[in-house]
Each structure stands twice: as C-alpha cells, then as structure tokens.
Symmetry: C2
C-alpha cells in the first residue's frame, strides 16, 4: 500500500479502512467527524493501473464496495475518477492512493514527526565485516592488528584508532565469532564496536532538544529507516518556561546548571530506554520466545528487533544555544548577556560516556554547531534540512519555538536572527493557555455571520459540531489553537486590527469579566469543558499574542531590509514544539510578511530532520559547520528603528497594502478597517 | 658544582663533603666504610682551571684542606693531580670534579634512576599563550573560536579539537585571565587544558611498570628536567611473583583481572600523589607561605612547585606485555598460551579518566607499543632509549627483569626474544633470597686464598670488614647479591663449573645441612644477622640461579645463531628491577656470550628512559611504533636444539674457549677445570 504524494508505503492488513491504514503508515488525512462518515473531509483517490515504479497493481476492485454515505460528498464525476472517503473504503488488495491537497492534514506543521527529506546514505558510523586467520607461531600478530590489516586490505581503512572500551572486548568477541567479526568504524577513524560474526543492521538516534519538547528519531543506520519516534517534555521546564528564565536559574543557583543538565541527560536516557523497550514484545507476553503474533492492525508474524541502549552506536543532537550549553554543562551566562557570545560555535564530538548518555559507551555524540546568540544548533538543523543556501529563491524560514528563529536568504547570502516570541504562541501565560495535551483546543472556526464557534480538541477527532457538548471535555487552548483563535476573531470582525475587541458584537459570547471588567470572548461554554467553566480568550491574552507575532513580523521585516529584498519567494514554517500552524491563519495574523499562500510551506520539525540528516550523512556535519559560520547573525534589538517597527508589527495585519494575498481569506470590509 | 663524566651539576652549600654533595646531585660515588675515611674507595679528582663551557673556576683552593687520613690512599703523584677522598674534602667554592671509573658506583645498574640520555625537546603536549579581544556586537564570536583563531594565526595550529571537560572550564578561565590564556595542545590536535594568563612550566610523568617494581619520572615538559623520581613495589606482587602466575591468577579468578588492574592503577595514583606532595613544603612548616628556608643540604631559599595531579598533563607508560594487558584490563590469557598473540601491538592514547588515573582529567595516557609475546612496551622503551637500530655495531641488549628480554642486532636487522629467567635472579625462591630491602646482601667478595667472605648490605654503607658483626643486621641475599655470590664462589673454586660444590673445601663455611644433608655455604654467620641464623647459599639455590643464567645465555646464543653473528660488539645490561649487576660478575657467570669488558655497559632502567624519551619527544612515539613492528620476534622454545643449548648453558661459564675475556677475572686453574 502506497500513499501519494508522500510516497509512504508499507504492508497493512485487509479490512482496515484507508484512514486506519494511513495512520499506520504515518500519513495524515484530514477528518473532522471522527470517522462518523458525516464530514466528507477524508476524500482520497484510488489510482487505477499497474505502477511499474512501485510494482503495484492498484484498482478500485482492491477496495470494499461503495457506501451510501459517500454519495453526499463525492460527485458522479469524482466517483468516475476513483474518489472515495477514507473512512468508508476498506483495503482489499494492493493500492496506490493519492491524497488530494484539501484532504491532507499534513499541511499543518506536525511538530515532531520525521519527514521524508532526501538524505544520501553516508553515516558517520559504518559497519564492516572481516574474517581473519587465527594466530600461529609463524604469525603471532596481535588480535587488533590482525583485524586492522583486513580492514585496510578489504576496505582501505588505514590508521584506525580503537576506543579503549572496545579494545577491552576485542579478544572475546574475536574468538566468539570464530575469527569473524563485524566492526563499527566512526568517521573512518576509530573502531567503536566489535561484534562476533556478521551483523547487518545498526542503529543511531537523532535528537532535537527543544526548550519545551524533546524528540528523538531512532534510526536504522544501515537502511536509514526511522524505527521509532519518541518524545517527551523537556524536564527542565520546571526551572523556567523559556531560555532566559533557565539561564537566570543557573545564575541564581550554584548547582543550577548541574541540575538542569542532569535532568535533560536523564530525559535523553529515558527516551533511549523507551525506544529500546518498544523493540521488544509487550511485557505480558514475555514468556513466549521468538516472533510474536500481533493482535492489532498488522496481523501476522512481527519481527521484534530487541535492541538495547548498547545497540545505539551514534547520536546527533540539536538545540538552541541555551539548550546546547545547558545540556553540555557549558556556562550559559554569557550567551544571555550582550553581546551574547556563546562558549562554542563548532560542532562537537563527545563520547557518550563523558556526557552520561546511556547508549553504547564507545559511541560519540555529535552535537551540531551553533550560529550565534540564541540561534543555535537547532537552526543549523533547520538549515541543513532545508538547504536554502543551495537555492536561487529567497526563502524565509521561521522556526517558531519558545524562541523564534529566523533565517532569510538564498545561495548568495543567508542571515539569521532570533526574536523573543515568548511562550504565548505555545499557549503559556494565557488565561486558558495549556500545553498540547488532550482537551486542548487546537483548531477553531468562527462563522462570519453568526459569530458561532466550532472547534476541535486534541484527543478527539470529531469537531464540536459533530459532538455532544459533554463529549468535548475541553480544558483550554494550546499553542496550535492560539493563532487559529486570533485569526478567526479578526476575520470575523470580533476584534479590530489594533487587537481590541470591536465595540459592535453580535454574539452572546462576548462579555466583560465579572471580576475585573476586562472584555473576553467565550470559546467553549462550561458544559463543553471538563473544568466546569467557560474557556475564554481575554483582551490581555490577545495582547500577549500580538507581542509575539509582532516580534516575529518585525524580525522578518528588519531582516528583509538588511538583505535588501522587498518580497520573499517562499516562507517555510518549522515548528520546534507541538504547534500546528495553519498557513492561512499565520498569514491572516501577519506572523510574517506577505507571501503567496502556495509558497508558504510547513516543514514540520526541520531542526529534528537536520539532526537526522547529520546522523545518516556525515557530509551534512561538514555542511552544518560551514553554514553555521557563513550565516550572518543579526542582533535585531540593536537594529535601527527596532522599537517603531515592533510597535507597528503588533497590528493584525499591520498594513493593508503589504498583504495582497489576504484577499479571499479575510472579508474586504475587515481588511479595509482603519 | 659539576661532576664529570656524568655532567650532573647544581648548587650545594659550602661545608658539605664532596660525597655528600655527590649524593645531593644524584652522582653515585663508591664508599665501603660508610664515610669513616678508612676504605679509600671514594677517590675523586679536582679539576683545576677556568672551564668556559661550564662557567666554572675550579681549584684545589675551593676545597677544605688536606686530611691525614687521605695519605694512606692517595699517592704523592695523585695528590699532585688533584686527587682527594670524597669523604674528607669539603666544598668551599666552585668545583669541577672528575669521578674516576673505579670510584663510580654508577658502573652498576642502578635500576630506576633517570639517566642522562640525549632527548630532543618535542613533547606531545605543548603550551601556547594567546591573547584575544573581548566580544562585541560586531564580533560576537564564541569563546572557543576566538582562541582557535589566535592559535591558528600565531602558531599555525589548525583544526584543533577540544576535550569536553576542558571546554566546560573555558569561559571562566578566559575571563579569569582577562582574555589571556595559556592553552595545552596535545599532538597539535586537541586542546586539553586552558589556564588563565601566561604559564610557562608544565609537567608530565613517564612510568615503567615492572613486574616487581614501578618507577615514575616526574618531568617538567618545558625544560625536560626530571623533577623527581618515585617508585614502589608493583602492588600486584601479592597475586604472583612473575607474569605467568599473574596470568594464572586471572584465569582462576573471574575478578582477577579487575583486581590486579585496579591495584596497579591505585599504585600509579599513589606515585602521582607522592610526586605532587613532594613539591610542597614539609607538612610541619605548612603555616609559612611562599618560599621556605631549607635546613638540609641546599641552604637558601627553595622554590616549591606546589603541583597537584591536575598539573600532570601527559603520561607515558611502558611494561611487558603482561603488565601492559593487566594494567589496561585487556585479557592476558591468550598472550600466555602458544602461539602467544597479544591483544594489541600498536601504541594507545587513552584518556586518563577512562583508565581511572588521577592526573589531569583531559590528559591522554600514551601506552607504548608491544613487540610480540611477552616482549612488550618495556623492551620498546629500551630500544628507543638505546637506538641499536641506528648503529652499525651489533648490540646485545639484555633487560633482566623477572622476565628476561633480549634484543640483538644493528641498523640492518633487529631480533628480540624473551626467556624465562624466573625470579631467582631477583632473589626469590632461594633459601635466603629476599627483595632489595635493608639487610639484604647486595655485594660480596670471597678471598681466593682463605675463602673468607666480606659483604655489604643494603641500608649500610660500611662493608662487614669495617663493621662489628652486630652492626650488619643481615637478613638475606637480594637480587643484586646473587650473581656476586655465585661468581665469587666459582672464582674462588668453592663451586665447580658444573655448579656443584667442590669436594675440596678450605673454609669452615662449607657444611652439610643438619636437616636435609644438602651441601651449603655460609655467607653470614648468625651473629651478623638480625634473624638469628646463618645466611647460607644451598646447592639448590645454585641450581636455581644456573637455570636462570642458562636461560639467558642460551637465549643470547640462539639469537646470535639466528642473526648469523659469532660475536657481539657491545653488551648492554638494562635492569628493570632493583638489581645491581656488576659486569665482571655477569661475565664470570656467563650470563651472556663473551664480550670485551669495556664493551659491557650498564644502561640502568633503559625501559623507563624510553618512556621518558616518549614523554619529552613525540617523534619517539612514532619511532616506537615503527621499531615494535620491525623487530623480528623469535620464540626461543621452538628453536632447534633449544634443550641441548639450554643444558650446556647452565655451566659456569660453559665453554672456556668462548670466554677469552675471563682471563684476569678468574684464576687460570679454575678456568681450566674439566
């Protein structure tokens, strides 16, 4: 089964709906009603014919028969072309399925999932199998030299070192393998593992240490396959939500750096353990040996990899400069003070054992380089994943995390900067802000006429319209919902360009708070929540978000001025935390300068993708070091007119003429507000 | 004050005798009577004149006046030439003193002292001072890159890595030094220390891990000066005296390797601590700060270096293959079993922290390469110290430790082998054998006519003849005495060539043991001992020593056959343990094939000197790797005629014609025994 255009493929069992199959293969298809067959959003097209490239004979005969519910959403002409609803059609054979743009949930930034970016196979660690002859009186050469000779002869690997801990295991492994071993070589320089016999698969982990979220891609280094993606909250959150508060924590507490570093290292070790545990059969069935029968989606035998942390033989890490420094116990104090010098730019190769990271003790951890100021290895990750320095077009890449990071340019020149978006875009510091957890509003729609509200919460597929109030169990608004809320409030005229609530309100949802007299707008009524009170957005909330969006927009604008461009050719939105940013909403809000909507792309966790690229291709590490030193860093706060630009940028969208592409998205009468 | 020919020099206070001064400067001058002015052995010659080379105005006026005791030993002609007794003449000004051959105690192998061998300054670690400009908004470059740029610009050091632990300290050190730091760079590759300000002196340690003794040279890497020499028993001795018994211990105990390794590591750490402690003022005077006044030999201000283990920034280690493997926790089992393959030949650079060695945590420990079988890094040390591969003459180098190691050859070809001399030459397994400790007989003379015995014990300068019996407090015979005893027994006709006691005995010292009827010879009467019984040498003892000397001789002989030489041009005796081998005695015993006595040289702890050379000159490390792979290793036990040669070699000296140089050393009638 293959999904286009993502190219994701895999075996799925017959009888699954196409929607279920898409989830199993990591393809995101839109669904509003929670598969009740009533919203029609999950339209897909079954391709007919034999597709030589994939070796697939796909046909409408390979799905179950037409259902009456589909008539409402699919026209006769579409039916002719092979359209079906993903929630109705079930798999009954080989299929090539095209997911049309409007059905793709993937147009949102799905934060930490691994994307398909093209990576050439050239990992820093490679496995080599060698066979040696046993020692004799004539040739009593040592174990190591025996192997080195073969590695040189067979693979041209000369002057190899060997990690001390690996050397200790060498004599046993060599004899266990009856003089045949597989040797892991790091960067053609150092032997870091010796295993008896022939071993094909080996593993590594690429990690994105975000201020709020940590994500790890567990990869097979031989096949480049992502075995698993695991993530967790950054355990340092308890010391402060943003980078500055963590740096302050370090400055106020003599053991602050140690504690924060130990916590994140422990966090990484938890991710490693979790990823490895997932390669074993579930514990209940532990008694059975060998392959296990599956009960879930994919029936039939499943091969469990049964990996241990020792099997993780390489690791790459990205993170902003503060996360980078704190993880490595490098004093982050100076990067927090003007002129913000980091301790180090260049990438570092540190033995996992020296960092206390529980993977193979001989493995190196490759920490990607920092650019400047807070623009760290995470942004370098974004750059090597997106490669704007190879393009003619001028790209603006926005990585919206707790700290906003901006890159602008093309192969001629690249500049970067960071802006303090603050935690508002992540839902923090708002009246009903919350993290991306079940019950958090992540999408919203406000009817232009009635100003009625429809929304969706995390953990529930069906929108409110398709649900009973008590089914929603709403708790608050998460980062992904924030922009939606504000954009819809503006689009529907509930708030003005200035961010203030309009004096004319049609809906009962607007009120002044009984306690403080502040205006607020009710998103979810108390009976839809699990917290027993109305979930509202207040005037103060709106100000917070305006500050954040203003910082971003102003940053983009000043960078464009610095680069001398009037217009960017492409905007890429990378999300380092759990936010899903819908590009229309971002444009409506004026998060960044105007751009054709088709040229606004969500690139997901590009920082993590960059870490993965550096894990799978050593050349990407060189590229990273090169680009880190060749991006010109702009300290925005000392740019001319910073304050003025910032104040202006807080308007939603602050100048009509600058946003021609908003027409169609926002009613004309709203856009032409004074 | 300068001593010739050793060239040792230094400041000493007026009023010291020349003997006392010689000790203060590490020059060994013979003394038998314990400075009672009665043996006349400490003759030296005062050189007269101005010696431009040294900037010394030396004159007989610069010593105190002639004493009556000197008349007995110094002829009028000698007096004219400037001869004095070292125990009588006292220092009273600048002096250049020549120590004649017969007065040099240095003609014996003084095992662990550092010799003056020519070493070119090129240590693996070098210090570089740099000054950088503080960061600004225009140049907010990171701390590390700021320094790297300077190191590259000023010293041409490019692409440097930095040790992770060093990096952690960098920001503080840089600011502490007000943007001036001194950086330790290892092998032009890696920064391993950053110190604030300008630092000139830095330190390293060269270590010789012998089976029995461990010696460490604490060196100033900037000046090449040996700051101190510290040594100790190998703490592994409790697991077995020789390498095979230690390997056996490992094979019989699952935690044996761990325990033995931990013990030697702890031992090395003790040496490090001791060496560092010696750079502080004695504890009693701890309250005083700054320079201390000296009470002992060298009056005036003494500058204490006040070094800590962290100041030791480089370390080199040599040891035989078994010591090498056990120290590094490399399984030594296979090197103990035919065909004796080691785990590794090549030199290793291991972080001190990975080995648990308490020097600077970022420092590397350089372990020299192994040759083959038991001929390990210690012999490589001997080779790079003696450099026979640079000479035309055919050298035979014998390193007599618990395991004998032999090298033969010249720049054309070098071969090496080891022979199981066993512990007899070290005094072990003999009736009254003991370690080189106070009370151990280390020198002996037997009167050819009366067969009366004179001897000297460790810890007492005066020979028995010059002492009262009860002053001797003799306990046994140490390694250094063993050869002396046997050579003297043979020379005086008490034992025959075969090693058997002669049927004709003149002395009351010969008797049959009351308990077992075995013949024995009394060296020290009970009243001269602290153990209350006669110290004897038994027929069995003699057999043990014959086995040892036979193994050595036979090894040399077989190697000469293999190399196709009839005669060696030079014999060098290196001692890895506390033995003092007198060359005449070694020749009399037939430890090695005949050689002109002037061509027999004691080279002291050449293995340790090699470690020191590798510490002070990185090129020596390459040379070591090269020579380790270019010495051909001969497994003696599988050589043709090994058994026959071995049996023959047990005779003392086994063939008259082979030892023309014995004439004069041994009475003719003894030599012509059948």
């Amino acid at each position: 089964m293959i999904f286009q255009p993502s190219g994701r493929r895999g075996e799925v069992s017959k009888g699954l709906t196409i929607l279920e199959a898409s989830r199993a293969l990591g393809v995101d298809i839109e669904t509003l009603c929670g598969e009740k067959k009533v919203c029609g959003k999950c339209k897909v097209r079954i391709e007919e014919g034999f597709f030589e490239k994939y070796g697939v004979q796909s046909s409408l005969d390979n799905v179950t028969e037409w259902q009456v519910e589909e008539e409402k959403f699919i026209t006769a002409a579409q039916k002719e072309q092979g359209y079906r609803l993903g929630c109705c059609a079930k798999v009954d054979g080989d299929l090539l399925i095209f997911v049309p743009e409007e059905s793709r949930a993937g147009k949102q930034v799905v934060s930490k999932a691994a994307r398909d970016i093209p990576i050439e196979w050239n990992p820093a660690v490679k496995y080599y199998s060698v066979k040696v002859v046993p020692p004799t009186f004539e040739e009593p050469t040592a174990d190591l030299e025996r192997i080195l000779e073969q590695l040189n002869g067979q693979y041209g690997l000369a002057n190899l070192d060997i990690d001390y801990l690996t050397l200790k295991k060498l004599p046993e492994r060599l004899r266990e393998g009856k003089w045949e071993v597989t040797v892991a070589v790091w960067m053609d320089k150092e032997i870091i593992r010796v295993l008896p016999g022939k071993v094909k698969d080996y593993y590594g982990m690429a990690i994105d240490v975000g201020t709020t979220t940590v994500a790890a891609y567990f990869c097979n280094l031989a096949t480049m396959e992502v075995v698993d993606t695991v993530s967790m909250m950054n355990p340092q959150c308890k010391y402060g939500e943003d980078v500055m508060s963590r740096i302050t924590y370090h400055m106020m507490h003599p053991d602050g750096l140690q504690k924060m570093s130990d916590d994140i290292i422990e966090g990484l070790n938890t991710l490693v353990t979790r990823a490895c545990e997932a390669t074993y059969p579930p514990k209940k069935k532990k008694k059975k040996k060998g392959d296990m029968e599956e009960t879930g989606a994919a029936k039939g035998k499943k091969h469990y990899l049964r990996l241990s942390p020792e099997d993780i033989i390489d690791m790459t890490i990205v993170g902003n400069t503060a996360m980078h420094h704190i993880l490595l116990k490098l004093n982050p104090e100076h990067v927090g003070l003007a002129p913000f010098p980091p301790v180090v730019h260049k990438s570092l190769d540190i033995k996992a054992r020296d960092l206390g990271i529980n993977v193979n003790k001989s493995a190196y951890v490759h920490v990607l380089p920092n650019e400047a100021g807070f623009v760290g290895a995470d942004n370098v990750g974004v750059l090597i994943a997106e490669e704007p320095y190879k393009k003619d077009e001028v790209q603006l890449i926005i990585d919206i995390g707790t700290n906003g990071e901006l890159v602008l340019g093309n192969k001629e020149k690249l500049i970067s900067s960071s802006c303090a978006t603050g935690p508002a875009l992540e839902g923090a510091q708002l009246a009903f802000g919350m993290r991306a957890a079940p019950g958090a509003i992540e999408r919203i729609k406000i009817d232009l006429d009635t100003h009625e509200v429809d929304y969706k919460v995390i953990g529930r597929d069906a929108w409110k319209t398709y649900s009973k109030p008590e089914e929603m169990e709403t708790k608050g608004i998460c980062g992904s919902g924030i922009l939606d809320v504000l954009a819809e409030l503006y689009r529907s005229g509930i708030i003005l360009k200035s961010g203030k609530f309009s004096p004319q309100q049609k809906s009962k949802r607007f009120r002044k708070n009984a306690d403080n007299g502040q205006p607020e707008f009710i998103i979810a009524w108390a009976d839809e929540t699990s917290i027993g009170k109305d979930v509202v957005i207040t005037q103060k909330d709106i100000r917070q978000i305006q500050l954040a969006k203003g910082a971003l927009y102003c940053g983009c604008k000043l960078m464009m001025r610095r680069l001398g461009v009037e217009k960017v050719d492409k905007v890429k939105i990378a999300g380092a935390f759990g936010t899903h940013v819908e590009r229309e909403k971002a444009l409506i809000m004026g998060l960044f300068p105007d751009c054709e909507i088709e040229k606004i792309l969500s690139v997901g966790n590009a920082a993590g993708d960059g870490a993965r690229a550096a894990l799978l291709n050593r050349e990407k590490r060189n590229e990273a070091n090169w680009v880190a030193r060749n991006v010109e860093y702009i300290e925005l706060t000392v740019e001319r007119d910073f304050q003025t630009e910032f104040m202006q940028a807080m308007q939603i969208p602050h100048m009509k003429d600058s946003f021609p592409h908003l027409e169609g998205l926002v009613p004309k009468e709203i856009l032409s507000q004074k």
